[in-house]
Symmetry: D2
Amino acid sequence: MYRVGILGATGMVGQRFIQLLADHPQFEVTAVAASDRSQGKAYGDACTWRLGGEMPPSIRSMPVQPPAPPLDCDLVFSSLPGDIARETEGSFAAAGYPVISNSSAFRMDEDVPLLIPEVNHQHLGLIEKQKRRYPSGGYIVTNPNCSTIMLALALAPLHASFGVSAVAATTLQALSGAGYPGVASLDILDNVLPYISSEEEKIETETTKILGRFADERIELAPMAVSAQCHRVNVSDGHMAAVRVKLARKPDLKELRASLELFRSLPQELGLYSAPAAPIVVRDEQDRPQPKLDRDAGNGMTITIGRLMPDTVLDYRFVVLSHNTIRGAAGAAILNAELLDRMGKIFHKIKST
Amino acid sequence: MYRVGILGATGMVGQRFIQLLADHPQFEVTAVAASDRSQGKAYGDACTWRLGGEMPPSIRSMPVQPPAPPLDCDLVFSSLPGDIARETEGSFAAAGYPVISNSSAFRMDEDVPLLIPEVNHQHLGLIEKQKRRYPSGGYIVTNPNCSTIMLALALAPLHASFGVSAVAATTLQALSGAGYPGVASLDILDNVLPYISSEEEKIETETTKILGRFADERIELAPMAVSAQCHRVNVSDGHMAAVRVKLARKPDLKELRASLELFRSLPQELGLYSAPAAPIVVRDEQDRPQPKLDRDAGNGMTITIGRLMPDTVLDYRFVVLSHNTIRGAAGAAILNAELLDRMGKIFHKIKST
Amino acid sequence: MYRVGILGATGMVGQRFIQLLADHPQFEVTAVAASDRSQGKAYGDACTWRLGGEMPPSIRSMPVQPPAPPLDCDLVFSSLPGDIARETEGSFAAAGYPVISNSSAFRMDEDVPLLIPEVNHQHLGLIEKQKRRYPSGGYIVTNPNCSTIMLALALAPLHASFGVSAVAATTLQALSGAGYPGVASLDILDNVLPYISSEEEKIETETTKILGRFADERIELAPMAVSAQCHRVNVSDGHMAAVRVKLARKPDLKELRASLELFRSLPQELGLYSAPAAPIVVRDEQDRPQPKLDRDAGNGMTITIGRLMPDTVLDYRFVVLSHNTIRGAAGAAILNAELLDRMGKIFHKIKST
Amino acid sequence: MYRVGILGATGMVGQRFIQLLADHPQFEVTAVAASDRSQGKAYGDACTWRLGGEMPPSIRSMPVQPPAPPLDCDLVFSSLPGDIARETEGSFAAAGYPVISNSSAFRMDEDVPLLIPEVNHQHLGLIEKQKRRYPSGGYIVTNPNCSTIMLALALAPLHASFGVSAVAATTLQALSGAGYPGVASLDILDNVLPYISSEEEKIETETTKILGRFADERIELAPMAVSAQCHRVNVSDGHMAAVRVKLARKPDLKELRASLELFRSLPQELGLYSAPAAPIVVRDEQDRPQPKLDRDAGNGMTITIGRLMPDTVLDYRFVVLSHNTIRGAAGAAILNAELLDRMGKIFHKIKST
């Protein structure tokens, strides 16, 4: 069991970390930290639990600490807000901690893996380069933006088999993606918001890094055009995207469907604890996927694709859905950590005192 | 004042017809008809009013009649369900009535105008051809599907100025588009439905007819690829579409914006009663258009465009919004009738007895 | 293992029966029946699954049968619509089946138990009287209306300890209580409906029967005034009621709270499979209970009470919440069956052929 | 025309003030003030308009000023947050301004009228007493809490005719009552919140003051028990309350209904600009009132009562609904000002420079 610290522990994603780690066989939460006014309080007093079920009892009395090293743990998971993530995560890496981050601060740094274990585990080679920044042995591994993850995961088998030359994604994103308090109820009741700050840019840039090749100790961005139009809809959890793709080699529908449905990768082969049996499920009902019915597929780690059909402007189109705070955030980071552990990148630290 | 009959008067669009015609200077509702079990009852008893405000008092005691000629009126507006619209509307045209229809039954017929007065009033030349079908002088004029109208209206100035070669539209459509009772609340609360029956096909086919050229007494379909992905969201009124376009000649953003914003057409020149001052409003706030804030622009007859910017896969992208039961249905049909009147295509009938 | 038939298997409550029985140690679904057009189809084709997760595979290919005896089972659970429940359930009882019903048809019959196992298991003595109606040995046991259950369960310890002389309940009820398709989305978005057909009457009459005394082979209604005002709100699952009570003996708040929180009864003593550890949980946070956070307490079988405080018009007030299709319907019926089994009232039938 | 200043101009109620005053015949907005970071900006830049339609053009370029005298106006409307209202409103009154306040700060002060013009215009006699506090001639008149207004207005004719001895109100309140950003969308989607800070206390105390008698220069509280249980539901505008009343003299239902429906008072007699023709409308449909359909009755100034019937615990019960930011806030204050003007309590000030 590794001892784990959570940075940003009181937020929506921080709560998911705690929920998903409550019964985890490899990781045990031993420290919680937050940048807000909750420092010094017990977690149970500092934090209103907003997920179903009860707050895990073991965490209730844990004191909320400032997000700065040292913390009593072997590695940290971070979901800090963007404005403080860069400095804080950097200081943990400098202090020798593996930083498994859901924040956007380091995602596009040249020596930082933007990891989806099923898609680009080769990119972990970048960790070696971080030794220059962090001689202590600490490092940073990030997971993509919540919408980018499902898009890149859906594109991965298509890109491997047929070559994706262009992709246009139009998202319908859930409220939990904005954190808490996030979107005001008066803004979203009987409404759609056609704008999410920085989201279109993140999808357009992160996707080409994730699908890029690791060669010569660097990532060669995937040569594809990516277009994103993002919307907030009145859904609690579950991001959806309507996707059109252009392929270098155009397969028939059956071959395309098979490449998605049969996709398995390293996490499935290694049997990682959080890895779903199938990363992608393809459904043939004409009205699926739906957030309410499909977000919990594979305990929130499976993405669901439906409405797969030829497109009249690009080659094919489909709708993809994933749980944005599990596969799209906390679950993604935990799967990253599980892979890092299996690859020998996580160590027991001497317990701080 | 022309006397008007409403076919499908008890449905959502039927109620909008009655609401919009309550104070109309040219049209007075003198007959209401419906295919359901409400026949024989007074309209006020047959119909639960589902729009804001009260049912117009003049309509309350009007008897609901079967939807078959003769009706005591000079023309009929129809929003009959698809399965009975074709036979019923045909029988009214055969009996000499102008049929201004919001139903899909005749939209793609070769001799039937699929009319948006700002876009393709030239297509009204097709009415002449209908004399072969309906020697009585009756005829059918249709308006497009609720999503197609806003898309075609947005594309019209672009197509005229730059040539649209491809368009990919992803819709987020309101509940009222499904009629009443329509979508079950359990299906849409905390959810999105990625499927609307026949909607994608309608948008893909109707758009090329509307933007087609009228020549040699027929419509030459516009040579453009149209792709539609349609979704139902938890919004009462106001369809939204995220649109990407490819243009034969690519203007700069400023020129593109001007072509949309300055667009005016025949209804504005003629000062038709329901014509908005501007068919298209372009907003520069980064989070507009929104259904709740923009659906009532121009009394529901103006479409609102926002988030206009270059696109990385096609040339430009934007988000468009319109009121689906006003500009997208009842208001569209009424504007059609106003234009037909101005062009001398509507006559006072001898009052039936 | 008893073999179980589900009457009304395709509805919302029918689906809950199937979900809750999927892994039940005592009951196995061997027959599904419905009154609608689904007869003859496989259940998986007849029924769109509307609950989270997947339809249990074992049920998928089971044929939907007409709701009439004989069915291949030892007992039936019924959630038939009111209009056909009386005749159909009666015919099953006459044919010798125990009928564990969630329908309202027989609830107020003099010889039919209206059972909440924690509250009035003594009422099962009425089954003896049904031998006059059903010499075959079949019988009918009902559970209360979904709102009544939580009210009666909350009142039970108060009535036992202090005597309830009056209760005024104002409900905020979930959409799933109306079945499927149930409430139209256009009726409930941005709205509240202050009316649910027959609901106020059911709460006002059923409560006094449930809390009544069984003596001399009959139920003596509890001598209390019950007032109910019912509303439908835009919530998927979880009925809430704001309750005010007047007590014959007025305890202090601490004693009142303890009587609720410490309440345990026969199902807890017997360790019935579906019995929650605590039938009632009392929460002290000022903003609980909430449907989203508390409906799944005790796997949906625990009711949650909060905002317990003195009242200025009656004696005390509180807010109570329960899962309306689990504790309020399917789960209630299953708990009833578990108790009946333990009391020796369920038998293995010779398998019909 | 009086020149009007708005304190708290950027909030939800502040925007309603501006919207309702845009075409007002007696009042013209000449100053806007807010306590937040918007000071110094133009109103159009400081404030995101959250109501339907566009921000009135005349207000767009008006500078947002600090909420402190002097302001260029003859009187001020205030909807300041509770924490600063007391000091700020007091300073305006001390400086000689009539302060027409929607804030709670002064409502229960002995010398401050808590005014509903239809109910207790006699209480304006208290203004005389304020001369001791404010020798300058300024004074404060408040309107009740948004839920209290509709309750007190519904009770007024009953209390006058029959004597209300007890009232138990259970509210279902709209989101706009919490201001902006107010309730987080994640808290209210698929949920109900059974708690609104201080709301129950306000209803319970304010009601007896409003319905109290003005005698000997003071208010004698109405001798009635008032109980309130308050809930937040997912509705944009329109507070609803389920009400039970006990009457000193119990009339029959017909007499009770008539007393509500025929209720008219001073604002109707005087023909005040914002006074609705009927303060109370009684509807007989079994499913009314509904927020979406009834909140705009009488331009938001009429309250709607339905489901009027005998009650089994108290004497009668009904459901009442009103627009919480019009009749319940900004519209209430404006009606108060209209009455004050008619009673000669508002004067033109020398224009400040």
